[in-house]
């Protein structure tokens, strides 16, 4: 709505509307620039440029950040889908989302395909299947309150919720899943903690 207002203001302010026809100013040099709302932090992460790597260093894997704002879905329901695809390879994630019955699955699938396209075109990724999902998060969008009519003249206030979805793709095969913590590991950690204790305020 802010963009529409600003656009309306700028279109009113165009001088070509005031000057008579056959004026000196050609139309081409005047353009209405859209007033962009604040660029989010996630979008800015794509702009960081690292210094060139030294010959001996291992190759830094490419990172692609992509997001979609103001999706008409609940952030809690979207979180389940984001949790499903965390840590999967992109092909597996697309397969799982294709056969999921949830509304957010279609949206996330589009976001992943867009991100894959961006990776191949702009971020110098060689194989589009060689990507895995490092991070996938949801955020709260703008909520709007509306009246919901009940019987007998009663009304309730409902909130129409929207969410954002953020994804970070990293080049390379997905990392192997962590082995579950056994009792033996926990016991080892406990013994190590006991051994790490020292005497304070002493010689």
């Amino acid at each position: 709505s802010g963009a529409a207002w600003a656009r309306g203001l700028l279109s009113w302010a165009r001088p070509e509307r005031w000057l008579a026809s056959g004026s000196l100013f050609p139309l081409s040099c005047i353009h209405t620039s859209t007033f962009l709302q604040k660029i989010g932090k996630w979008e800015k992460k794509n702009r960081i440029v690292y210094p060139p790597q030294l010959p001996g260093e291992p190759r830094r894997p490419a990172e692609i950040y992509h997001c979609r704002r103001e999706i008409k879905y609940s952030k809690d329901k979207m979180w389940y889908l984001a949790k499903l695809i965390k840590g999967m390879s992109i092909d597996q994630a697309l397969a799982q989302l294709e056969f999921s019955d949830k509304k957010g699955a279609k949206v996330i699938r589009e976001v992943l395909l867009e991100a894959q396209e961006m990776a191949v075109r702009k971020h110098n990724v060689e194989f589009k299947s060689n990507l895995h999902i490092a991070e996938s998060q949801t955020g709260r969008g703008r909520y709007v309150k509306r009246v919901r009519c009940h019987g007998k003249g009663m009304f309730g206030i409902m909130k129409i919720s929207r969410c954002h979805y953020f994804v970070k793709l990293v080049e390379g095969p997905p990392p192997p899943p962590e082995p579950p913590r056994t009792g033996f590991d926990q016991a080892k950690e406990y013994v190590q903690q006991l051994r790490n204790r020292t005497l304070v305020h002493t010689l």
Binding site: D76, Y80, L81, K83, L84, A95, Q96, E98, F99, S100, K102, R148, H150, K152, G153, M154, F155, G156, I157, M158, K159
Partner: protein, 185 residues
């Protein structure tokens, strides 16, 4: 989050006033007042034999079942706010997370993904589209409702001739190349 608000209708206001009156006077005073009260004093005392209603009715009780509006006091309601930690344990329990599906395969015909027990969506859409075109041809040939043929139908594409097997059958000609997956018998 849903919050019920009462709009001030005169009908509802009257109902509320009646409810408060009942709570003050005690439930069903009319019926008890008609009969002689069982808990009145047994001695012959001059003066009003009836004790004021309010003190007895509230305490010793009435055998009557409280109406729905009074049983509102005894409805279940949460005592404490559930903390976000407790909420998270419930919402993120493994039984509530979405399971990873293991029944996804590749369709050998078109190469798209398909579930093992379901037809491939792409191939199904392809066949559906072709069937729609054949049906349009049939509709054009029949020329109206209730003209369905009594014999079998054979579909022939460009450059195909009817064989001896197709003797008594209705022939539908489609001015297109035969799709590779539609095998001719």
């Amino acid at each position: 989050v849903l919050v019920l608000l009462r709009s001030p209708l005169p009908r509802l206001r009257a109902l509320l006033q009646r409810c408060w009156g009942w709570l003050d006077r005690g439930p069903w005073p009319g019926i008890l007042g008609a009969q002689s009260p069982p808990w009145g004093p047994a001695l012959a005392v001059q003066g009003p034999a009836l004790l004021p209603r309010g003190t007895d009715d509230a305490g010793t009780g009435c055998a009557e079942v409280p109406s729905l509006l009074e049983s509102v006091v005894w409805m279940a309601a949460p005592k404490q706010r559930r903390t976000i930690e407790v909420n998270r344990c419930r919402r993120r329990h493994p039984s509530k997370l979405i399971e990873v599906k293991r029944n996804i395969d590749v369709c050998p015909e078109c190469g798209n993904l398909k579930q093992k027990h379901v037809l491939c969506g792409y191939c199904y859409a392809k066949v559906k589209e072709e069937t729609r075109l054949i049906r349009m041809e049939i509709y054009r040939k029949e020329g109206g409702p209730l003209n369905a043929s009594t014999v079998e139908t054979v579909v022939l594409y460009e450059g195909e001739k009817p064989t001896e097997k197709d003797e008594g059958k209705r022939i539908i000609e489609i001015p297109r190349k035969r799709p590779s997956w539609f095998v001719q018998n």
